[in-house]
């Protein structure tokens, strides 16, 4: 089977780099309530790592590593968990931030007013929603990229 990836230089650099890109994307998602970034941006960064893998190794070299059904399932899991997190505070209002300033273990800490160094365990539902939306965006964009490349490539060679 002919591999339709790029040259060995690109493939070697990709092997070094794609883990770091994914790590950076998870960092952006994780610190979405403290620093610039959030679920959308971090998810797009992780999806760009998947796209890099796809470009470097080709649609045939990636077979079996990224399952399309798995990606679609994870996207639905992200969307549904976002909706469930929004429904958590339905006792007061839809999208009510139940855990903020509650003092509980789930991001319940309070932050001082004004410029500070950032409290990681604060924010209530916001970091959890960041993770849900990040999961949704990264798997959704990865599914779009994979199916647009693989799907259009396959029909031509048939």
């Amino acid at each position: 089977m002919k591999n339709n990836g790029m040259s060995i230089i690109v493939r070697t650099v990709t092997r070094f780099v794609y883990g770091l890109i994914i790590l950076f994307g998870f960092y952006v998602i994780m610190h979405g309530h403290l620093s610039p970034g959030g679920g959308f941006q971090g998810g797009a960064v992780v999806a760009s790592a998947f796209a890099l893998l796809l470009v470097a190794f080709g649609s045939t070299g990636l077979k079996g590593r990224l399952n399309l059904h798995w990606l679609q399932t994870m996207e639905e899991v992200g969307a549904l968990s976002f909706l469930a997190l929004a429904f958590l505070g339905i006792g007061t209002a839809f999208f009510y931030n139940l855990f903020a300033n509650s003092g509980g273990f789930l991001f319940g800490a309070s932050v001082p007013t004004g410029s500070n160094a950032g409290v990681f365990a604060a924010g209530g539902l916001v970091p959890l929603m960041n993770w849900a939306v990040g999961l949704k965006v990264m798997t959704g964009i990865a599914a779009i990229v994979i199916i647009m490349l693989v799907g259009s490539r396959k029909e031509e060679t048939e």
Binding site: G32, P36, G38, E75, F82, N97, A109, V111, V119, V133
Partner: protein, 91 residues
């Protein structure tokens, strides 16, 4: 002839856009900002988040984010349905 008419229409729209932009209020001085000032002043107390944009996206205006997530989901499902390989009995 059609191209000339289109070009006239294009010039018309462009002139309107540029004239409207030239009459815009000055850059860097938003005049109605009460809501945003409320967000900036109260985000740390109400949502306990340092990033005001994230607080607006996920807390104050969560419905917009929900609709956006729905649009992304619909697009992904639509693309997957388009590129789906037809089964044998459908061909």
């Amino acid at each position: 002839m059609r191209k000339v008419a289109l070009f006239v229409a294009f010039l018309f729209v462009g002139a309107f856009l540029l004239l409207g932009v030239a009459d815009m209020r000055p850059f860097g001085e938003p005049q109605i900002a009460d809501m945003d000032d409320y967000y900036i002043a109260n985000t740390q107390r109400e949502v306990a988040v340092n990033n005001v944009v994230t607080a607006v996206v996920f807390d104050y205006r969560g419905f917009d984010t929900l609709g956006e997530a729905t649009v992304l989901f619909a697009a992904v499902v639509g693309i997957l349905a388009l590129f789906r390989k037809p089964r044998e009995d459908e061909r």
